[in-house]
Structure formats: structure tokens, C-alpha cells
């Protein structure tokens, strides 16, 4: 298994390279430049000398392949470059933002798992019941509701009207500040998990080996514990993995809305001023997170299902 994980980790390298190349390419064709944003957002006509000076200062005057090569050489030394704006190493900027980001993503996921999976289970146990209908209507609404709208709604009710929770900010990591953004971010994965769990349980319950379990004389609770839980886990782990993986990137809307100092807001701010090294760094971290979660999911698969072997 150690060898398998090592191989999977090595396989990430080409993916990360491709992502880095893609970002480079995109920013070279996008209109707007760092020099432009530095000197008044392009509203005024720029003096060519100033633009040339800024470009030379940040190495933007060199041709694209050379810049890309320089970037790669630094990347393999775990150097993500220096921010155009703050002149700080990108690594430091990301390090400051990664914990709030993870905190938000993992809290949202914890909410989704602890509420979504049991709800899906209960709904599947009584298909067609009131609980089932309410859960599934809630799940569809949860999936179709825009995140920012739910965030605004939560802000309005719990911060503005009731005054229970702060409406924005990190609050030095206080739990009070985490609650609303975590709910806003976790609602869609919660809804998806509830639906997936329900569908998975129903599928397993319809399978032949459940009929065998009934013929053995197992009670419903014994059947669920011995023959349903583990079988449903494969499906649940897939959904969970995809969600956790993409949550870090998805969080940017919620982070902006709640002024949460995460990677998403760092990335958006940096895109706006064409601070390319920072954008590149944040995207690479988000992609890396997604890849690592994927490997983790595959390892968990093999632990759950003996038919899957890691090779």
C-alpha cells in the first residue's frame, strides 16, 4: 500500500505541471496586466516608460516560455514566487490563509456528514413517509439554492434580525464567527449527501444479499449494522471525497461574502489585480488538496471493499 500511495503521489506531478502551464497561458491571453492595475486600473492612459519599468521590475518583460521555465525551476524548490503587490513570498501568504480555509471547509463538511448521512438513512428506511418527503424536498432545495443567497439569508436572519451571530469576519478564529459561513457552505454538500445516502441505502436494501439476511432471521437493525452500513459506505465515501475536494475552491463565494480570510478570497483579490504568482499559488494548493483527497478516497475504498485492490 505504501508503494501504491507513493506512485499516486508521483502521478500528481504531471497534473500540477499542467495546471501551472494552463494558468500561465490563461493570464498571458487575458486582457489587463499588473502594471495596468498598479497605475490606476487602466482608466488613465499609461506612460509606456512606466509600464516598461514595472514589467522589468517583476520580470514580466521576458518572453512567456522563459518566465514559465523560471517559475518551474523555483516550483521544484517549493518556492511559489513573490507577490507583486505585497512583495511577500506567496508561500507565506498562503500559509496565513490555509488554516481558516481548511477550518471552514472541514466544518462545512462535518455539518454535511453528521446531518446529511443520518437524514438520508432515515429517509431510506421509510420511503414515501413524511420524513422522506421533507428530507428530499429539502435536499432538492439545498442543491438548487445559490450559496450566496443562502449566505445572505442567514446573515439577515441570524446577524441582522436576531443579532445572535456576527455577520462577517474571522474574529480571531472564534466559533461564533465560523457558524454562519459553515452552514452556508455546508448546505449543498449536506443535501447531496442526504440524497446519495438515501439512494445508496435503497439500492443495497433491494439487493439479493439483503433477502438472504432476512431469510437468516436478522432484525432490521441487525441487518442495517451487518449488511447495509458498510455496503453503502462505498457510495458515501465517493460523494464525500468529491465534496471535500472541491469545497476548498467552492468556498470563494462564501469567503468573499463573509469576509473570511481564506484561500478563495485571496485568489479572487489577486485575480482582480493580476497578481499572477499568488493566483497561481492558490490554485496549485487547491488542486493539490483535491488530488490528495482523491488518493485518500481510493485508499478508503480498498479498506471498505475487499474486491478493490490497490495496485
Amino acid at each position: 500500500m505504501g508503494r501504491y500511495i507513493l506512485r499516486r503521489l508521483l502521478q500528481m506531478i504531471p497534473t500540477l505541471l499542467a495546471v501551472a502551464a494552463l494558468i500561465f497561458l490563461i493570464f498571458s491571453v487575458l486582457p489587463g496586466s499588473f502594471a495596468g492595475t498598479m497605475t490606476g486600473g487602466g482608466r488613465r492612459a499609461l506612460s509606456p516608460e512606466l509600464v516598461a519599468q514595472i514589467n522589468a521590475q517583476f520580470g514580466l518583460d521576458k518572453p512567456l516560455p522563459v518566465r514559465f521555465w523560471d517559475y518551474l525551476v523555483r516550483l521544484v524548490q517549493f518556492d511559489l514566487g513573490t507577490s507583486f503587490r505585497t512583495r511577500e513570498p506567496v508561500m507565506d501568504l498562503i500559509a496565513a490563509r490555509i488554516w481558516p480555509s481548511l477550518q471552514l471547509a472541514l466544518s462545512a463538511m462535518a455539518l454535511a456528514v453528521t446531518v446529511g448521512i443520518p437524514l438520508g438513512f432515515l429517509a431510506a428506511m421509510r420511503p414515501g413517509s413524511l420524513l422522506d418527503s421533507i428530507t428530499m424536498i429539502g435536499a432538492v432545495s439545498g442543491l438548487s439554492m445559490p450559496q450566496f443567497w443562502l449566505g445572505l439569508l442567514l446573515m439577515y436572519v441570524f446577524a441582522l434580525q436576531l443579532g445572535w451571530l456576527p455577520s462577517f469576519g474571522y474574529g480571531e478564529g472564534r466559533l461564533r464567527n465560523l457558524i454562519l459561513p459553515a452552514i452556508a457552505l455546508g448546505f449543498a454538500p449536506l443535501a447531496l449527501l442526504a440524497r446519495t445516502t438515501r439512494a445508496g441505502v435503497l439500492e443495497v436494501m433491494a439487493s439479493d444479499h439483503i433477502r438472504t439476511a432476512m431469510a437468516k432471521g436478522a432484525s432490521p437493525s441487525q441487518m442495517v449494522r451487518w449488511h447495509v452500513l458498510r455496503n453503502v459506505m462505498v457510495l458515501i465515501v465517493t460523494t464525500m471525497g468529491l465534496q471535500i475536494g472541491s469545497l476548498l475552491g467552492q468556498a470563494l463565494v462564501i469567503e468573499k461574502l463573509f469576509s473570511w480570510p481564506g484561500l478563495g478570497s485571496l485568489m479572487v483579490d489577486s485575480v482582480a489585480i493580476r497578481d499572477i504568482p499568488v493566483v497561481q499559488g492558490t490554485i496549485l494548493v487547491i488542486v493539490l488538496w483535491f488530488l490528495v483527497i482523491n488518493v485518500l478516497v481510493d485508499v478508503i475504498y480498498a479498506a471498505i471493499d475487499p474486491r478493490i485492490s490497490l495496485r
Binding site: D208, A215, R307
Partner: protein
Amino acid sequence: MSGPLLDIRGLTIGIPNRNGPPLQIVRDLSFDIMPGEIFGLVGESGSGKSASALALMGLNRRPLTTLKGQALYGGQDLLAMSRRSMRKLRGDRISMIFQEPMTALNPLARIGSQIAEMFVLHRGLSWSDARPKAVEALAAVQVPDPEGRARAYPHQLSGGLRQRVMIAVAMACRPDLLIADEPTTALDVTVQAEVLRLIRELCEREGTAVLLISHDLGVIAQMCQRVGVMANGRLLELRDAKALFTDPRHPYTQGLLAALPRLGSRAVEGRHRLADLDTAIDRNAPGFAETYLRPRGEAA
């Protein structure tokens, strides 16, 4: 001889219909099974054999419902029992094996624990005490290397071995009745014979009666003392196995036997078309409409 082990009277299974009479799958089925007897139920697919067996176990899935009838076992009606007491009987006194050994076992659980489960459920053993019993049960169904196989997962076993595991599960608690629903249909012919012999030997040793369901007349002839012939939800003929095969009375049974391919028949009779059921059975014969609810193919 003492009374029957299981006495089924007027079993009717169907799908309830809000706007009229229910759609009946099995109509007024009555037969009994003596202790230790191997009773065969034979018929085409869709004739209601499996639905009847599952009804006895209380395992039919909605919308299939037991509409009428009794199944007396030791003075109790299986069809009217509470779920709780039925669960106690299931697996312990009456057990069942199914047609598909490939899917009947939980793919994610070890063979040993799937057998051990029976001792935990019905004998109150702890899992650690039940495991060695599971290995014994595997040995009893002549699985080679029972210790090793107990640790294996179903996908690591062949179909024949899996069906042996199912038999080990079903026989673990030495039941009074084993319901075998097409136990060998999914298996190779050579494996088929071994599995059938195993069922017969085990049940003889334990005094377990068998309700053997098959569409295969050869299997039925080889195994059973008495046979019931079912078609379209009705029991047409119930006879001693020997009498049934030498002197079939019902035209349907005659047709069924005529449709049986025989070795060498082609050589003797030349290029003779194999008689299929529809040519062998005269569905327009007088009285046939009463036994047949509807022509084949229009059912449900």
C-alpha cells in the same frame, strides 16, 4: 406416521388492486410436507413457485401480498404470525437457499462471519464463539480448507462453493425445513449433481425436510419423493414422484414430460423438432381455461 411438518391450505398470493379484484399470482395452493421428506415443486418460470416459497418465509416484496390461506407449522400459522416470532423461526427452524449464489452473499463480509451470524442470531453465541462453529459448518458442506475459506470473501469463491456456503448458512441451525429455490439452476451440470447430493445427504442426516423448487424435471425426479406440478399459479397435479413420471395424468404434466429433451432422440427419430411446451400442450383442450388463468405471456 405423525402429521405433516407443514400444512399449506388455500395459499393465495397476489397484488392488491384498489379498483377491483386483486391480480392473483398464486391461487388456492394446498399441499403438505412430511417431516424429513423431499417435496418437489415444479413448473415453468412465472408459475408461482418462488412466490409461494417466499410467502412461506414472509419474504415477498411489495406489491406482492399473501391474500388468503394458512401454512400450519407445529400448530402455528406462518402466514398470520407476528414479524418478531417469524424472525425467530426464519433461519432457525425454516431456512432458505436461493437461485443465485453469486449475489446471495454479502460481498463485503467474510464467509465465516456470514455463517457465524446464524449462531449469533439463533443460538445467542458471541461472535468469537460462533467463528469456530462456522468453520465446522463449512467442513460439513465439504468445502476444502474450511479455515482458510472462512476468512475469504465471496468474490474469491466459485459459484459452486458459494452455493455450498449458502447451504452451510441454511443448515447451520439444523432446521426442520429447508426451502431450496432453484438451488442449482445457476450452476454447471457437474457442480449441480454434487450440490444436490450434498443437500440430500445433509438433510437425511439432520432429518430436515426439503421443499425443492425447480423447473428442471430431471432434478426433481432425482431428488423428490412427492411432486407438485404448478402452472400459472395453480397446483395441477400432486403425486408420488415415480407415479408422476411413469403415469402423468394432467395434460399439462404430460406436455411437460414430452418437452423434455432425451439423449439420442434425434438419432432415433431423425431430424425431429424438439417439442416445446406450446406444441406439446393443447391449450384449447376442454377444461384447460379453468386451470390456466390466462395464456402464457400475458401474465402480470
